[in-house]
Symmetry: C2
Subunit: 392 residues, 2 copies
């Protein structure tokens, strides 16, 4: 067989649900020659990475580090470490990733009670209170930013509520970290996981996690071993924590990447970053509405970083996305699960949340919609977005 | 807190047990801007990567791909997919990584029978035959290249033997793939895992795995779900296989890396690569012996790519390695487990298996040993190695 040639992918603007484009400084950091994973200089890099990660998570949790795998492994890490066979868990699902929580909690041996919410809606804290009263679970798991629907679940009061019932709160922040406000300590979240390829502007490959002292106590109090050796927090803690005991070989280049990504986040400042995401979302939203598109998530609960809109009746999902990709190099996401074929998902995450992304995707969408036969007022999307930028 | 500065690690020559240095072309490939993980161009890259991986594994197995995590996750993948609660497993351990197989098989619910061999020795096939006769296990697991001792386990006949008893053979090839001969199909291996950061000359972060049709049949015949969702081969198969069904977000940059690493391996040719590793090992071995160092692995079973030698009596392990690191920028490995403080492990893996590594580490070792008070004949190591290169 002849070998494939040199890597020459076409340039893309990644405005889907993730990965988002990595910041150019992050890509450059990854060319740094390797250190050994037990080299004193690499241990220092690990310490710096953990300290910055704590700042970005807004936590003092000592057990804070990136798991050496992608975001879903972060989900699995949180669940398998806190759940033993037969433990009760309540899982709130309002979309595709909530369903994944249900599936993984079940495989960890949990006795799972599922709370269902209509896709695009969010949970009311009173519903959750009633269920906690009824079930008294060890763990409640919920998605902060549901990537499949673009819905933004309020969780500010949820930790306090869970702790009234002695329940640990696990939160999926895969799509919120680095994009919208997240306060691990102030909101009393117990086990939180995220990813590297969205709000942090890095390639996929790492899953930042953080465990509260309550979660650590539950971990220490286990009667059985964690079913996964690779994801066992008590073992990984000895590696990322003080002992630096060998557990696995850290993915050196990806750690270089996230260290640079976190530096960029903190240089900008978290509040400024959240504001930026909100501002670009407002402009995009004004434009999308002007193009006649409707959000799948309920008003008031729409994520700035993930804008999911219904595809107009009669238009073909895949054909539209193909035009965007081939003619503009823009990737947006299709629908998942219940929304397959029915929604487009436009991400403005991390490095890609910027006016140039907004204006280009609106101009491109207008052209694509028009080509596909939709009635669109010429220039309406771009004009509406511009107005937001100019007059606020 | 002030932020950490730009990444500026000291240059290193990584001659430990891994990571080994990544090939410069691999680091360059990682700077390629991201594609989306469902982009048609990325799907093509996945196909190319799988096809090259099959060639490097010497297999036609369709279920062949890199797991999105480090080598140990590859180990866990093989075991949790093939083992259900109560299944019998025989694990052969002759070092640290054999012990890890025991631990992970146990967490997967196996009824584990452990075969122990003295560290540095290897198993005789007749011992294994007797145990298979006695236990009739579903799975037998063994390490091909035991990184903790430098011992090279013969496995050529083992697959055939296992299949006489209806047993599946799981092999840890973390330190052999890309360094020494490995014939997945010809040797009838059923589930094999490796890593990216040794013989393939990439950064750590991926775990190539391959499953035979026998292993796939066992997977399809399971009565219970695989305990890990992230590592469930039947789900990952739908992503890396024909359907391209979304499972997790592939670590794009690491896939770019391994694609380039595999291209380099195949450009060189596998036989040429194995010969290169052997030749550089012979030179290093001559030099180490001339310096008075003794291998921990038995004669005739010493790995070319991982040379573990006893530290001379009275010399301090850490002090010696620190001198090598600080004065020469060379990393070698210390001992693990039973050999902690007693052995140095010198890797000549992938890109780093070359005469310049051999000559430099011998010259540096001579100086370090002399500084530490050992009696070493000046120039003896370098001279002995040179002789091998010059006269073969």
């Amino acid at each position: 067989m002849s070998l494939p040639g040199q890597l020459t992918p076409s340039p893309r603007l990644l405005l889907g649900p993730g990965p988002s484009d990595a910041h150019p400084r992050v890509l450059t950091a990854m060319t740094t020659p390797l250190l050994g994973h037990l080299d004193p200089q690499f241990l220092q890099i690990m310490t710096e990475t953990q300290e910055m990660l704590r700042q970005v998570f807004r936590t003092k949790n000592r057990l804070t580090f990136p798991v050496s795998a992608t975001g879903t492994a972060g989900m699995e890490t949180c669940l398998v470490n806190l759940i033993e066979h037969g433990d009760k868990a309540v899982v709130c699902t309002m979309g595709y990733f909530g369903n994944r929580l249900v599936e993984i909690a079940g495989r960890a041996g949990a006795d799972v009670t599922v709370m269902q919410q209509t896709w695009g809606q969010v949970f009311d804290i009173n519903q959750i209170r009633e269920k906690l009263k009824e079930v008294r679970p060890k763990v409640l798991a919920i998605v902060h930013a549901e990537t499949s629907t673009g819905a933004w679940q309020p969780i500010e009061q949820l930790g306090k509520l869970c702790h009234e019932f002695g329940t640990l709160l696990v939160v999926d922040c895969v799509t919120s970290l680095g994009c919208t406000q997240l306060e691990v300590d102030a909101w009393e979240l117990d086990a939180v996981f995220s990813c590297s390829q969205k709000g942090l502007g890095c390639p996929p490959g790492l899953a930042p996690v953080t465990f509260s002292e309550r979660a650590i106590a539950a971990l220490k109090g286990r009667k059985t071993k964690v079913q996964s050796w690779y994801l066992d927090m008590s073992l990984i803690e000895s590696y990322w924590g003080g002992d630096r005991a060998y557990h696995h070989t850290a993915p050196i280049s990806m750690v270089y990447a996230i260290r640079e990504g976190l530096r960029i986040v903190l240089e900008e400042g978290l509040e400024a970053r959240w504001d930026r995401h909100l501002k670009n979302h407002k402009a995009l939203k004004a434009g999308l509405l002007a193009l006649g598109l409707k959000y799948t998530a309920a008003e008031g609960h729409q994520l700035p970083q993930l804008n999911a809109v219904r595809i107009p009746d009669g238009l073909d999902d895949a054909a539209g996305r193909k035009l965007l990709l081939n003619e503009f190099g823009i990737e947006i996401g299709g629908g998942l699960g219940d929304l397959k074929g029915k929604a487009w998902r436009i991400g403005l995450m991390g490095y890609n949340s910027k006016p140039s992304s907004v204006m280009l995707v609106l101009a491109a969408l207008e052209q694509v919609l028009t080509k596909m036969g939709a009635k669109v007022e010429p220039g309406a999307g771009v004009a509406a977005a511009s107005k937001v930028y100019v007059s606020g």
